[in-house]
């Protein structure tokens, strides 16, 4: 089966999630990856969304971090401050997912501004939960498409001290060097060349001595992921119209 780079990234991220792990999930690709893992090899994965929904098992992907589906399928719905204090800060999260507009060679992230903070060229959404997810989750996974605009020599602003366990891109996987912690290319998707990965990186990317190739999505992985996306698209297709008692 053919597949898109997004599908490959999602599958690669899903495969890193171990059965029973507690995941702090963001919207978009991380949410797809976590639910793909839950629907395949890790049925006991515990998903926490920052909106306060703990142990959710959505049948379709949420479009916002606070969709009703997340509350309806949660083991418990708690006030948001508890998510950040009792769950995240207290060390109850195994894996946290992050993305950003910019990443540097140490895995630090910028999601705040392009340009100077006080006179930004582009004002980005800001930190959200990222700084504390990065600090408190046992392992941090970063998911970002590679380009020289986003993989930069120097961040415009350090929103998050990233300390990733891995950065999953649309070309492969970078991991920090055991000694220097500098991000190093460790694995590539099928058909990707080292030159292509280096060309899409804004700093001289280190490459591991032994590079592995990541197996393409299996038929099961693709089928489950596509079915999930199909269900999601169907569920969200209708326009909301309110009906009130007359």
């Amino acid at each position: 089966m053919t597949y898109t780079p997004d599908e490959m990234m999602t599958v690669a991220a899903a495969r890193r999630l171990k059965e029973g792990a507690v995941c702090f999930v963001g919207i978009g690709l991380p949410s797809a990856a976590c639910n793909l893992a839950r629907l395949t090899h890790a049925p006991g994965l515990v998903l926490i969304y920052e909106s306060g929904t703990v142990g959710t098992r959505p049948t379709v992907l949420p479009l916002s971090i606070g969709d009703g589906e997340l509350a309806a399928t949660a083991r418990t719905v708690v006030p948001l401050p508890e998510i950040f204090t009792h769950y995240l800060q207290a060390g109850r999260v195994d894996v946290g997912f992050l993305g950003a507009a910019q990443i540097d060679r140490m895995g630090d992230l910028n999601s705040t501004v392009i340009g100077p903070y006080d006179a930004p060229k582009v004002r980005l959404p800001g930190s959200g939960g990222a700084p504390e997810i990065a600090r408190h989750a046992r392992e941090v996974l970063i998911v970002m498409k590679q380009s020289t605009r986003s993989f930069v020599e120097r961040l415009d602003f350090r929103t998050t001290a990233g300390r990733p366990g891995a950065v999953i891109t649309d070309l492969g996987v970078l991991e920090p060097d055991a000694g220097t912690r500098e991000l190093t290319l460790r694995a590539m998707f099928e058909g990707v060349t080292v030159e292509a990965v280096r060309a899409a990186c804004g700093w001289p990317l280190r490459v591991a001595d032994r590079l592995t190739t990541i197996a393409p999505p299996t038929t099961t992985e693709l089928e489950v992921l596509r079915a999930l996306h199909d269900r999601t698209a169907k569920a969200h297709a209708h326009r909301v119209v309110l009906t009130f008692p007359s």
Partner: protein, 284 residues
């Protein structure tokens, strides 16, 4: 003091004045759009707007010139992209410059909790190794644990003059029930000098199980019954989030003229929330 039942127009006119610090809370769910629109209609000015996620409602209020400042932790259109009016205010001072007090979600949660608890500050393990403290030195500091010597981050309490929430139900006594995802609503309400609530309906008896999240009526200054008051956000058990609206907002808000025309047609050009809902086609 117990809650007064007022039309939304009167509740906003009575309790929200120019220059106040106002928090319209609700995390994706139960965002008080009707109340925000009414503040736009009443041309409130100089507000310091507090919300973890400004969302479309603050994009609209900022674009219409209501805000002197914003206190927030994530300012995007969820699942869609930018808040163009927020960006335009910060990047190009349009319609005018606004002050920015920026934190992380964890920091905002702690600030609301400190406010709710009557403390001047709260403590978290956060911001270390980031540029946030340097960017925002007036509301990010450190404090040392007197027992362990550990250095922690301190953030000042948020105490809104008014917190505005949308909820599913109120009873005749003014007790208010919120069900589902509540975000930092409880803390924002308890931190405020005044609490004003819009509800889907006023009922004889709240549909509240033991240990539900109920704000006692004596904590609430005013309640307005506004069916659909969270639209295009949602009210669990009443209606869903209108994701199509959030998607469509991107193109509207991207352009200053398109934004103003839309606001004129649907918000300042409508008398109230029922008229707004009809004008955007959200009611059958």
């Amino acid at each position: 003091m117990s809650a007064q039942f007022l039309p939304l127009r009167d509740a906003m006119a009575r309790h929200v004045r120019d220059g106040m610090t106002v928090a319209l809370e609700g995390f994706t769910h139960l965002i008080p759009f009707a109340a925000g629109h009414e503040l736009i209609r009443q041309q409130r000015r100089g507000l310091t707007l507090v919300r973890m996620t400004p969302d479309l409602i603050y994009d609209q209020m900022i674009g219409m010139g209501c805000a002197a400042g914003i206190t927030f932790s994530w300012g995007g259109n969820p699942g869609v992209g930018s808040l163009h009016r927020l960006r335009d205010a910060i990047e190009h001072a349009w319609p005018h410059a606004i002050a920015v007090d920026e934190h992380s979600h964890a920091g905002m949660a702690v600030r609301y909790s400190a406010g709710a608890s009557g403390l001047p500050f709260g403590v978290l393990k956060g911001y270390a190794g980031t540029d946030l403290p340097a960017a925002n030195p007036t509301t990010i500091a450190t404090v040392t644990c007197p027992f362990t010597g550990e250095e922690l981050t301190a953030v000042p309490a948020i105490r809104p003059d008014v917190t505005i929430l949308h909820a599913q139900q109120a009873d005749r006594e003014g007790n208010v029930l919120l069900r589902g995802i509540v975000g930092a609503s409880r803390e924002a309400a308890m931190a405020a000098a005044t609490v004003v609530v819009t509800v889907e309906e006023v009922v004889e008896e709240l549909d509240a199980a033991m240990n539900s999240f109920v704000i006692p009526g004596w904590q609430v200054a005013a309640i307005s019954e506004v069916p659909g008051g969270a639209y295009p956000s949602y009210a669990l058990g009443y209606y869903e989030r209108d994701n199509a609206f959030y998607l469509a907002w991107d193109a509207i808000a991207r352009d200053r003229d398109a934004f103003r025309a839309w606001m004129t047609r649907h918000v300042t050009g409508t008398a109230d929330h029922a008229a707004f809902l009809r004008s955007v086609g959200a009611v059958a």
